[in-house]
Symmetry: D2
Subunit: 410 residues, 4 copies
């Protein structure tokens, strides 16, 4: 006999409205769809509606990703009663306007990184989030790599003091999709839409990660940036709609100027005095999406590579020299962050699950009304570091303090 | 204005009915839930119903994993009109009965590996599948590792002749959850339920993989098996319901006999004369779920490690010695199997996605009415190898031919 | 003013006489030349003389490698008063005759592995060594991989009980110089000279290593061997003199039969009941000289790869799961075996230094009159395992006990 | 009958005189002793004499390392007729005086890196070398890592254009022997003797390597340096004689100021516009002597790790994406630099052999009278980069051009 689940006390729904449906939209959709199937949540995410400018495309995306409704105006999406949380997956130039409108409309907000294209926008957003927080609303920025279990666990080890006083942080985030000089001029290569290039896209991730893991802010930077290929073929109107063009060289097309950086390198100081090096590039031949980091402290070290995201290498400096070594921890044990809800030890997670974990943490924060991590204030902090990087690069790499740094980073 | 998708021509539904809801049930649920959101399919999987003996537990699992209904009798599940495909995630001793009943009821079937606990059962199942196939039904066995993109791609490279005549296959599948002698006596350690131990659970995977990748069958084996810990604490009634006990030592509990192997090692011959070595163990301290394989051929070699499942190492023997080497291919390019539907290059997939891919391939086979891969006949083939392994182990490791091997393996 | 070292009490000299001067001769020469410059020794090795059949070639080799004299008859070399130790670097078919003659002449002996081409020869050699030992002579067999510091340290960890009861040993030793079917028919491919193929050359190493590391003997084996390429081009007379032909295909040349194995695979039991797998091959495309091993015990595991010979991976099963993992120990610390005499931590040693260490241990054994490790008895033990492997391979892989195994292996 | 080598035409001798006999002295001794046994050389190195201030210690070192004579005054060593080449292994503060004196005395010179402690000294040395070169003398600086075969081969690949236009160079050289705040105040931590800290010791290596591999100079830098532990225990008189104190904490001892950097990080520009990052540190817990580098170009990339010095990873950007990947080349083939003289493929070399190769190249340059690589001019070039680093660090990291850069680097 069929079992009817009449006594089920399903948690109340949380209507999600997503703006944008390209790469990030697809990834967020997976997160929203699955999070309640894996984790115990105080609220049940409902894929209520998505918004996009092209009516046919947005309908198609809604069908594909399982959203109940589609809107062609993000203001209409925000206005919907069945949308309680607005998830912003658009390019950076629209983040501030949408996020502030959503917050003013009483919605919770998840905003993709970088928080904004400028410090001024980010400040306005953080102010709006602060005001909304008093009304019980939650605003989170989508630094999803904080949710790689190995990195969440790295944070825990550092917070527990297993590395002692930090001495060095080195992080590189390398891609190679711009190596071909005929790769076309997408919105990501135009300052007006993207704000910056590798710096804002990749650098934002590693600045946030470094501060999150260290638990302390970057206080100053010395930077160089470069645009190696200064003109690229313009996209046809058709191709321009694609968020991630497939990279086919459009050799014959007229060329336009690349107005963002291809790569950015900088050294930095953390509040504790630790020395850090950062590199973000889209010109690193053979590196597809490689975020590598190492942190050395007085008591130990950690190393991580996003290409092997289920692994964390840990060196304990107190181990006798004869048996010491970087141990490769497979971060798939029930005791590791997020892992209790997943598979038995040794079964790998993937990139996608960072979005599932992000959704979990955001819903948990909404459920308890607590400050999310990372908050818009954390996103602003990253923006200030990026601004200092750009300022230093303009000023011949001179050491440039970051403005208004807090005492610690959550 | 909200966009109504009135012109959508959604594909027809395919009602899934799943029997069992433990580890494999959770993994299959993820696959069924997501497959249509990622891949273009001829049919739209619908999570119709799951079955399990414990009414409360099955209702809870249905809620958790998003199944519309719950049944306490698998026969009732099979009988449902809204179930078109029966997905069998139970221990091996029930596979034959359920699968044959489902096939006779006109349903498609997906059956977890190993296909059965004996050759006789597997033969009956293959016969039933053969008969059902004439009626347009599809029966697949769940060797999900065929769907790791790196391994699907390995198969393609070998099929294209990039390795030439094969000389060596070596595969190990190592776990360590039985190292602790106080790990309790679960159903997986009892012959009547599990058929065999590491051999049937892990060995079945690597036998299938080896044959699939090589494209040719194992024709004979020489084997040794061992049960290192011969008695273990009996489970309490409560704990017995858990498919994967968390490994807490139940030191004080009365002990019962372990009736399956802890480990199996065997050498083998492939039809082409290639020499192979296999090892399956649950006593390999520090190895959580490590499936490693290497295949050497006259023209090249491949190496793979499930702990780094997005990577495939390939050596091309025709490369000049001075630049030759195992290249580490990050199997995340759009041209790689399954990857076009996923993320940009360099974004890792996980264990779970093998089930999404399995679902895709099964639905595609149903849509076109084509023979699935792996079919029940392929599952029977694995069963015959396992039987030869057990026979050889009983007969002092003497080389034991596998019965009724085909000319090739699809 | 120049400092005259008049008060130096240099240790007494130990005259070395080496038979054979190909690859192994060159490697041993490096060892003898350098050992006294790195280690404190009770005796000072003197490169007295080398012997070889071709007068011009042996003179040239003496010049090249720094030997004071050259002989064309190994009997003359043994007869020299300035030769106290005979170092045998010839093919296996001459080991017994030379070694026994040297021992009977009152010389210490170092004999390259495998000790002999048959158990009978090895028994005669071990008997001769036993008799000579009563006269204060030392006879060692050249299993140089025992002297890789990482493996010496592995032995120490196992002897200290850090792995507990052993469950699994798996070792592969892979080369690829026979992949090309036109690689010529050298003496290494002829049974009368080489005894066996990959088995005696590579298999001898890994059998010795497994027993040495485990500290216990292999008690039985089940084996398959194969000669994939059964005929190869005969060498010209000129080329036949080269121990290691450079692999140029001699396509047009007449072909002769390969009378040894290209590859051998076997499973085995250790005295403690541990299950082991072995593979030796010269047909593993892309693997140049890759000896990999892993040992799993109840308390921990070790893993090693000769391509990264300064590293040992160690898993401690008592470590909490959350921080457990294989740690990569860089075996370059002063506390590691042999390392105190070398460079600061982190400075890699190479293949050659195994011969320096071998020389050190042999001279130390001579100095103290203690039993060397590995002794001829240890070499005989390996020979018996190889014989059991060949017998099992002839008998359809049936499990074949090793004859006269000792209680432990030093 | 003994073979007398009467017709041997041994190459003429080249008398070596070495100043200093600590770590570098031991390493150079190995190189000089073995180079003629491995490589064909135009001259036969003879270990004529070493010099050191402590009579007993220098005699002991001469005995240990096999030098024929010992001197307590380096001027006496230079004056010896049997010394044709002066090998300077002392701290940097004495390099200029000794090297210039030796060159003026008509001797060839090998000088350990860094060439000097200041640009002025290095300029004087380069001038002296230039003048001596006109007299047929050769002066080389000991950047031995150029002689790691994998790095020599990397240089060849880049010179052949396999990487195309370079975009990125990133190099780190990490040690951890200063992590313990009680590690004592050795000469390496005093500016007057060492010139600088990690910068001059480790940074000099990676600056030279980067320029050598790229084939082009660094034109400007932006740097930060740090001394994390500013006071350390003074050494006792006895311990002060040791070049490499074993690191025992001398907790109770009075403390003195550390006057050099513990770590230096800098970004840089190469002449072609490529962006580079450098880090040198003695505070990187768990890293013993880890020099890692990666170079990305428009056509390919290279990666290297000194801990695995027999391997070079190469990515060919023209390979189809589906089979592209970093290939791990085992640099042990006869076609690789230096390897023809060594062992068969797959047999690892070690750190020591860089000195053998250095000796080979130096003797070859002397034999042909050609400009050595690296010359004193190359050493001066490195010194100028280090000076720019220190100047930038003093000036708030502002981008600081390197003085007098050449068009290319040999």
């Amino acid at each position: 006999m069929e079992q009817r689940d009449s006594d089920a006390t399903s948690p109340p729904g949380l209507g999600i409205g997503m703006v944008g449906y390209a790469f990030m939209g697809a990834a967020h959709s997976q997160g929203w769809r699955n999070v309640g199937r894996v984790f115990d949540l105080p609220l049940r995410p409902v894929l209520a509606a998505i918004a996009g400018r092209d009516a046919a495309a947005v309908r198609s995306a809604a069908r594909r990703h399982g959203w109940a409704a589609a809107e062609t105006d993000w203001r209409a999406l925000i206005a919907r009663d069945d949308v309680h949380l607005v998830d912003i997956c658009t390019p950076g130039d629209s983040h501030a306007e949408i996020a502030i409108a959503a917050l003013e409309a009483g919605k919770h907000v998840l905003c993709e990184k970088p928080l904004a294209n400028s410090v001024a926008e980010a400040e306005a957003m953080a102010t709006a989030a602060e005001a909304a927080r008093a009304r019980g609303q939650v605003a989170m920025v989508g630094f999803n790599y904080r949710r790689v279990p190995a990195l969440s666990y790295a944070r825990r080890l550092i917070a527990e003091g297993r590395l002692g006083t930090l001495r060095h942080v080195r992080v590189t985030y390398l891609q190679d999709w711009l190596v071909d000089p005929d790769f076309p001029l997408t919105w990501r290569l135009e300052r007006e839409h993207a704000g910056s290039g590798a710096l804002g896209d990749l650098g934002a991730h590693i600045v946030d990660l470094a501060q999150y893991l260290a638990g302390e802010p970057i206080v100053g930077v010395s930077a160089q940036t470069e645009t190696f290929v200064r003109e690229r073929p313009r996209l046809t109107a058709a191709a321009a709609g694609l968020a991630v063009p497939s990279g086919q060289a459009a050799t014959g097309a007229p060329r336009g100027p690349v107005t963002v950086d291809d790569a950015a390198v900088f050294t930095a100081r953390l509040a504790s005095g630790a020395l850090a090096t950062f590199e973000a590039s889209r010109m690193a031949s053979g590196r597809k999406n490689q975020l590598r980091l190492e942190i050395n402290g007085e008591r130990g070290s950690l190393a991580f590579d996003l290409e092997r995201l289920n692994e964390l290498c840990f060196h304990d400096h107190h181990e006798p020299a004869v048996t010491a070594g970087f141990r490769r921890i497979l971060v798939t044990e029930a005791e590791h962050p997020y892992l209790e809800a997943w598979w038995p030890p040794g079964h790998a997670l993937g990139y996608e699950h960072t979005f599932t974990h992000q959704a979990r943490d955001l819903v948990a924060a909404i459920g308890t009304g607590s400050e999310p991590s990372p908050s818009f204030a954390d996103g602003l902090l990253v923006q200030r570091v990026l601004a200092a990087v750009e300022e230093s690069a303009r000023k011949n790499a001179v050491y440039t303090p970051v403005q208004d740094v807090p005492a610690e980073v959550r």
